[in-house]
């Protein structure tokens, strides 16, 4: 740190999901005495770890133990229930207001909206985004659970074959007993289980070797009882002949699944179709099916096929929503301008798993530190006694110890065979947080 600095740097991270937590941790290691604050629009931290990672993947959610540590042991502050906006709004703090209080702002706001299919019919009733479904299953306070999971129907088509699509398949194909130990939303699960699908078709635009899902995600499907798996459009790709180890593992896992999951009287039939690009959602008002362009169809046959479906779930990635303080995501460096940075999905788009975002966060933290060391960030005029948040915003904020009250409450009140039962609304989370504070 420059010797002319008259006080320690002050940095605000916007968004307490994995990228925000990783960047705060990396900044802490580089700047042991800096004032670091992570804010989130929700009253709780952890973003997609809490609300995006599938409810039956609790071991993936264990990464929160690591994040817990930066807030409880490494003097990183948390302020939940704080909205950061591009322009001033009542009850929110704008980027300009934050910039008057902090040397640097790092946006880690992710990508909250489902990328639309972008084909005719994609707004028909019965087309749902994977993010919307995942939020419902994860009890996100903004989830609209009504009228979705109870209307998926008998034959669900999923567009996209990344890990999010496989998460959806597990949810659709598992029996209620398979959710033991999860923190799935029981009302959402019950709504779906009233009339669960018996047919699931997953469409991958890519060829089998280039599908986006991880081999382990495919292998896990083999544990679901009563499943019959059919693979179409894979051609005669020979796993042994693939040089790329990841591709080979994926093809081997898919072939092994299709061989193993052959229940003669299946509860659920899963069709995995490769080289299939949807061109139209069929139906008048409500989804009736999908028209699909098939790669490599013989010239004598029609180039499109119609697939019947009672609902269509899009799992083709995510985009910025109207709450994002900075809308466009492109793969550039973390620096938007000196003093404003972005990290994770809102920097480089909706690709990569939780660990990938650590590498990204370490790189962006290094950019922030380099700008500080070069004296590029206006550290002179800020009053060292000025809090990082305006008083009116800070008064309604949820601290990390408040969050721990919510966390304890959710675990203590977990329904039978659930690891936790999440509080479904902001108001309930705030009530529990405040009861904890005042009831000391």
């Amino acid at each position: 740190m420059s010797e002319t600095a008259d006080r320690e740097p002050r940095i605000v991270v916007v968004g307490a999901g994995p990228s925000g937590c990783f960047v705060a941790g990396a900044l802490r290691r580089a700047l042991p005495a800096a004032q670091l604050l992570v804010v989130d629009r929700l009253p709780c931290p952890f973003g997609l770890v809490r609300y995006g990672v599938a409810a039956d993947h609790q071991s993936t959610k264990n990464i929160t133990r690591q994040f817990d540590r930066i807030f409880t042991k490494e003097r990183v502050d948390f302020a939940g229930n704080v909205r950061v906006t591009a322009s001033p709004e009542p009850g929110a703090v704008s980027l300009d207001e934050l910039a008057e209080r902090a040397d640097a702002i790092v946006l880690a706001t992710g990508l909250a909206a489902d990328r639309p299919l972008g084909i005719p019919g994609d707004t028909l009733d019965g087309v749902f985004g994977s993010g919307a479904i995942t939020r419902a299953l994860n009890t996100h306070p903004d989830a609209d659970t009504a009228g979705m999971l109870d209307r998926l129907g008998d034959h669900v088509a999923i567009v996209g074959m990344g890990n999010v699509a496989i998460d959806l398949v597990r949810f659709l194909a598992k029996t209620p007993a398979d959710f033991a130990g999860s923190d799935v939303n029981d009302a959402a699960l019950a709504a779906y289980q009233a009339a669960p699908a018996t047919k699931i078709t997953v469409l991958s635009r890519s060829a089998i070797a280039h599908a986006k899902c991880d081999a382990q995600m495919v292998r896990e499907l083999g544990q679901i009882a009563g499943l019959r798996v059919e693979i179409e459009g894979a051609g005669s790709v020979d796993a042994e002949a693939l040089d790329d180890r990841v591709q080979r593992s994926r093809v081997e896992a898919l072939r092994a699944l299709a061989e193993q999951a052959q229940d003669p009287r299946p509860r659920v039939t899963l069709r995995l179709v490769f080289g299939a690009t949807p061109v139209r959602v069929l139906g008048e008002e409500r989804v009736a099916g999908l028209r699909v362009q098939r790669a490599g169809a013989p010239a004598t046959e029609p180039t499109t096929t119609d697939i019947a479906a009672t609902s269509v779930l899009s799992a083709i990635g995510f985009a910025a929503d109207e709450h994002s303080p900075l809308a466009d995501a492109s793969d550039v460096g973390g620096r938007v301008r000196p003093g404003l940075y972005r990290v994770g999905w809102c920097r480089r788009g909706p690709n990569g798993t939780i660990p990938d975002n650590r590498a990204d966060a370490v790189a962006v933290a290094a950019e922030v530190v380099a700008d500080l060391e070069r004296g590029q960030l206006g550290r002179g005029p800020l009053d060292p006694a000025m809090p990082l948040l305006p008083a009116a915003i800070a008064a309604d904020a949820v601290s990390y110890s408040d969050w721990l009250q919510i966390d304890q409450h959710e675990c203590a009140t977990a329904a039978e065979s659930r690891s936790r039962t999440k509080l479904p609304t902001r108001a309930q989370m705030l009530d529990v947080a405040r009861a904890g504070t005042s009831g000391a």
């Binding site: 071991s59 690591q66 540590r69 382990q216 896990e220 180890r245 593992s249 660990p355 650590r358 590498a359």
Partner: protein
């Protein structure tokens, strides 16, 4: 005795466990230094700066974490004689990945052994699918390593 605690990490868990080991060793009165495999040159590894405690995770299909791959490549290229170097391994993995559980650290372990280094103590393991805390397991594991090092002075 001076320890060097090296970590290879993808999600950051190994780094925290390594840091906790350093703090624990310092509390026990040992010299202990933390190092990232990403910035470790194999030519710096010798009996005088060891023993080494290596905390390393597993990535993807039983592979090394990305941050540890350059270290392995440099080890293979330089192929230093590591006779007299003593090290202990603590591997991270997830039994969810049954076929490749905790194999990342084993790649480093095999290479170090092949180059003449000697592994001491039990092979420590943490399973991310368990409810166990990685640091607690590592702190329960390290006394056995220390005891064995002290019983057999280098």
């Amino acid at each position: 005795m001076k320890f060097t605690v090296l970590y290879g990490t993808e999600s950051g868990n190994s780094e925290f466990i390594a840091q906790d080991l350093v703090d624990h060793l310092a509390g026990e009165g040992f010299d202990a230094e933390l190092g990232d495999l990403q910035s470790t040159d194999p030519s710096s590894i010798d009996a005088a700066t060891g023993p080494y405690l290596i905390v390393c995770s597993t990535h993807g299909e039983g592979e090394l974490p990305h941050t540890a791959i350059p270290f392995l490549a440099a080890l293979e290229e330089q192929a230093p004689d590591l006779s007299g170097v003593r090290y202990a391994m603590f591997g991270l993995g997830d039994t969810f990945y049954a076929e490749t559980y905790s194999q990342g650290s084993e790649i480093i372990d095999r290479k170090l052994t092949e180059l003449g280094a000697q592994r001491v103590g039990d092979y420590g393991r943490h399973d991310a699918s368990s409810i166990d805390d990685g640091t607690e397991l590592a702190l329960a594991w390290v006394p056995g390593v220390i005891a064995e090092l002290q019983a057999q002075p280098a």
